[in-house]
Amino acid sequence: MSRALPRQPRLPRRHRFLRLALANALALPHVVAFANVVAACLPVKAQAATLGLPAIQPVLGQLDELFAKADAVAYLAQFEPDHPGAHAQLRQQLLSSFAPGVPLQRTSTLLGKPRQFGARTVVRVHFEVRAADGRSDALYAHDAMLAFRSAAGDPTARPVPTFCVEVPAEFGSLPNDLFRCPACNYELGGVAGWLCVPQRNDRAQALEAASFYLIGTDIACDLSVRIEDPLPSTGQVSGAGETPAGQPLAVVERLAAALRRLDPTVRPGIAVPWLPENHRAAATATTAPATTPGATGIAGAQLAVDLPADRANPDGSRAVFHVVTLGALQHLMLVRGGQRSLQEHAPAVAALLNSYRMLDVDCDRALAAARPLAHHTGGELAGTTYRNTQWNVAVEGPNGWQPGLRSGGNLFRVVWTSPQGSRLWLLGYATPEGMTKWCRETADLWFREMCAEKGLTIVASTDATSTWKQDQGCSADSRLVTCTAPIRVPVLQSAPGGSVAAQQRLFRLVVRDDMFLVLDGQARSDDEWAQVRAAMASLRLP
């Protein structure tokens, strides 16, 4: 026999209201948590709102304060880095900026409008660094691209910087992040999500360079343009498996070998033929392998290098060299990032690489190499005489010596080589980034540093020519320096009428506000030394 449950007494109205309010208050956190879980599971389709300049400025001010305190740890802790490699380079730059006993102060100025890359807002910032004592000659200025992250849908939240990389001040903003150089005969970029950051050629060690960053990830693609140098006339080979210059397979293998010398823990793979999509169809139509120049005249290769696990990528990372060649002209593209990131964003990487296009595939090979050199260096050879109208430099090289233009990070780079293997170099160094001009002290400092790099010993001299003085033939200061170099080549038998002096190097240093010029002579006989000295004396800087 069932019995009805006793009915609970009915609460007064106000008590019922209180009970309802209490129940809602207790349930609200659970409802919010459930909503967050649901929101996290849903694909994010709406992009974060673009951060405004008023939100970013305070963050820059805080970074400036930490910079003035020389507190690199706290400075870097403000970041939640997307790209650990770039963050590590930022740390390197900060530590080099903080010299003991030299307090600095920095001011930041936002340039242009913020740009949106997915969930990131990218801005360009101009930094000016001065010595805290107010000395103007300690001014260091540079621009940088910074990326910020904010909470989606919460523009009031403090932006968090995630990325910072320097950009040369002389480079303006690139429309659509498309990097194009008709002189170097290529274009790359213009793909959504990729930020293009040009590089100074002296820092990039190339005629022209840029880096593309997939904002929000640790993936980057570094671009460089170089002209393959012919082997020195001394007969030195470029490496194991000597191959004709310009073969893209050999180029990527040499690049991987050079990388392995820097970091022995890397594991290079095997070079394989490769061409971007824009040129792949033409190459396959000729049935010729991509490595051999087909009807298009271009060839390409790629080589993947596996990198060990590190603090940034516990699963390891990868660097893939891509090269496209047209004769001696080389377009290098280094794609790097974590293994997992590269797999996850493979379509984006492929889209960037396939955006590469050589503008003139039927260009004459000699012209393809000469045009970038002429455009970026401004000089040309007429016989053994070198003239550079861009920098107002003229040098008459030694008669009977073979002249050659070289690429690199210099303003210009010329070498004359004698039949016996003697050489005369002409090198021009631009005003380094951050400095306003060269002076005698910085020129000497840089020269000593280069000598230390190459193991050269400066010979002390009391000769009048060894001190800086205004040169009559040049609108600049000049001096001569003698160095001794370690012998790396077999000592040749003495030439007729002369004696062997293969271990001596003679330098003529010329410094001007906008340029530091070095003439580097290395001769193997007295006659050739006389030719070297005559060539050095022929230098004109009107």
Partner: protein
């Protein structure tokens, strides 16, 4: 049972017994002690007698001759040849083995796991030797008798020579420390701390990011060191290997020059 041929020692002063120079008690041979394990590999090869080749060829020829005359030879493995006149008593001269006997003494085929078993045995032997060596440096846990005896001795020592108050406090503290050291739990704690210390020190450090490793290998005065990408360093290394004598083709770091100018 016929034994193996004993090599002739015509130049021996001991009548052909090559084991006379072996001193089993002192563990020496010809007055020299056995070398250590690490010295084995560096030992020079033993000297080869001048007549070794001749003797070997003669023995081989003798074997071949006996094989061809096998039917006419009446050799039995249990009957060694009688020593000839002039030789020392008991010397066995010209012991020859037939191919059947050689086959009987042929080394058997090694089993499939012979190598593994041998390696395991070697490892076990080395392990036990290391354990024995290390055991010498592991302090044994003090026995209760030792603790009691030590405490009695300390107490007696304290009674016999009363110390000044300050020294007595220091000695009291030291006594507390020594008493703690004698406790098993304290020793265990110290061992655990030492083990943790060794693990932390020996733990392989995770390498820095790739870009930082490349930048760290470059000179700070070069502009390419601050390039935020590793390609310039690779190109610089490439150019340096192609032409080691040429000056760098890259530029200088303006910040480095400014900060290092005038010796700052």
């Amino acid at each position: 049972m016929m034994g193996p041929n004993k090599p002739e020692r015509g130049n021996s002063d001991h009548g052909g017994d090559e084991f006379l120079d072996w001193n089993e008690i002192e563990g020496t041979f010809e007055g020299r002690s056995f070398p250590s394990e690490s010295e084995w590999m560096n030992l020079p090869a033993p000297p080869i007698a001048d007549d070794f080749v001749a003797r070997t060829l003669a023995a081989l020829r003798e074997t071949a001759r006996h094989e061809t005359d096998q039917h006419g030879t009446n050799l039995r493995s249990d009957q060694p040849e009688v020593a000839t006149e002039g030789a020392a008593e008991g010397t066995v001269v010209g012991h020859l083995l037939t191919p059947d006997l050689l086959a009987a003494f042929k080394a058997p085929e090694p089993s499939k796991d012979f190598v593994a078993r041998t390696l395991q045995a070697v490892q076990d032997d080395r392990r036990s030797r290391w354990r024995d060596l290390l055991a010498k440096y592991v302090a044994p846990e003090p026995s209760p008798e030792f603790v009691a005896r030590t405490l009695r001795a300390l107490a007696n020592d304290g009674n016999l020579s009363p110390r000044p108050a300050a020294r007595s406090r220091a000695h009291a503290r030291w006594g507390v420390v020594r008493s703690s050291l004698s406790k098993p739990w304290f020793l265990s704690l110290m061992a655990l701390a030492a083990a943790l210390f060794v693990v932390v020190i020996l733990q392989p450090t995770t390498p820095a990011p790739f870009e930082q490793r490349v930048a760290d290998s470059a000179r700070p005065s070069l502009a390419s060191t601050y390039a935020a990408n590793p390609l310039p360093a690779v190109l610089a290394a490439l150019e340096s290997s192609d032409d080691p004598e040429a000056l760098p083709s890259g530029g200088a770091s303006g910040m480095w020059l400014l900060l290092h100018r005038e010796g700052r």
